[in-house]
């Protein structure tokens, strides 16, 4: 007979509720079960109306983020046994509008992501005959950590500035911008700097550090943002130099090439 645990889950249906309310469910606890397994159990056997996102169930798609006992977690990566106690509180990710139950509205995040242009920007396109872009292992290592981001938005749920300042671009977006800035194949650093060197970009960050603590893929967005701030300062100082230096900033500050 497996142990039982109680899940206290935030429910919200726009047709019935003005505010979310909590509903409790009792689920069996198996050693290998994660919170997602418990949610699926509830949806299969107890209450089919429970709404939540999930997909890969292995921590790579970034869909299943929610607040587990007040902490932003991926439910597919959080074991029931590690939640402590026999009551687990599940709420939708903080600082996002709630569509229904545990599902958050992400369009604002996606707009912010698009704003930082998270793709390789080239000023010139070498002909195909020149072959592929080359990248040494050292060059890969310089940005690889930031490329591990799965857009799960746990960092947005952890960052108080995101909650307090709706226009703040946020940790994941800046980390991804930095990922492309540090890529030797990219020439768009200047463009991204023009977008991010503003109070709603990097300067809004006060280095709380929560984003790095909750990141399931160890991207360290806080580190990325501080590095970006240093870079912005250097950029700003270059702007003060005579024009022969400053006109180069439009071409992007590619670190190699």
């Amino acid at each position: 007979m497996p142990d039982k645990t109680i899940l206290e889950i935030a429910r919200y249906s726009p047709e019935q509720d003005t505010n979310p309310h909590f509903q409790t469910y009792e689920v069996p606890v198996y050693k290998e079960w994660v919170v997602l397994d418990a949610l699926n159990y509830i949806k299969d056997k107890v209450d089919g109306s429970l709404t939540y996102r999930w997909s890969c169930r292995m921590g790579i798609c970034g869909s299943c983020g929610m607040m587990v006992n007040g902490e932003p977690k991926l439910t597919c990566a959080t074991f029931l046994s590690s939640c402590g106690g026999h009551k687990i509180r599940l709420e939708p990710l903080r600082y996002f509008p709630v569509v229904r139950d545990l599902v958050t509205e992400l369009s604002d995040f996606l707009l912010k992501l698009k704003k930082v242009k998270p793709w390789l920007i080239r000023r010139d396109t070498p002909p195909l005959s020149q072959g592929e872009f080359l990248q040494t292992p050292e060059q890969l290592v310089s940005y690889k950590q930031f490329s591990m981001c799965i857009n799960c938005t746990l960092c947005y749920a952890a960052c108080p500035v995101v909650g307090l300042d709706p226009v703040f671009v946020g940790p994941a977006a800046i980390a991804l911008a930095q990922r492309y800035n540090m890529d030797n194949r990219d020439q768009g650093a200047g463009e991204r700097m023009a977008v991010l060197a503003h109070p709603e970009g990097i300067w809004g960050c006060t280095f709380v550090g929560e984003c790095t603590r909750v990141c399931p893929k160890h991207v360290d967005p806080a580190g990325a943002i501080q590095q970006y701030k240093l870079k912005a300062v250097l950029d700003w100082m270059k702007r003060l130099l005579p024009p022969s230096h400053s006109h180069k900033e439009g071409q992007g500050e590619s670190l190699n090439r």
């Binding site: 503003h198 950029d235 100082m237």
Partner: protein, 119 residues
């Protein structure tokens, strides 16, 4: 997203960082000595003459000027953001900005004046 000219936040952040470094390295020992060790008699307090001798040296005056000016900008920047985030008083933007950096500038001016006219 509008492509405004990059803001001068970079300068303010640089001042905040410099002030933070100076505060981190120098302020603890100063508070320990002048705030606790000397008043409580744990260590013999320096005489008036010795301090005046130190303060008359130009390098000491520069040291004290840096100690008493840049950390003020560290405070101004940090406190400004704490008010924005902690108290959510973003609507008082300009007032807070002026009070914080204005205060830092004022302190810097006072420090410069005092040290310049130090006997």
């Amino acid at each position: 997203m509008n492509r405004q000219k990059p803001s001068n936040e970079a300068l303010l952040w640089m001042l905040f960082s410099a002030g933070g470094v100076i505060a981190a390295f120098l302020i603890p020992v100063h508070i320990f000595l002048f705030g606790l060790a000397f008043p409580l008699g744990w260590l013999p307090a320096p005489s008036y003459e010795h301090l005046m001798l130190l303060v008359r040296m130009p390098v000491v005056r520069i040291y004290l000027f840096l100690l008493c000016s840049v950390p003020l900008f560290h405070w101004a920047h940090r406190f400004r953001y704490t008010l924005y985030d902690g108290l959510q008083v973003k609507h008082l933007n300009e007032v807070i900005f002026t009070l914080c950096y204005g205060g830092a500038l004022l302190g810097t001016g006072v420090a410069g004046y005092l040290l310049w006219r130090m006997a």
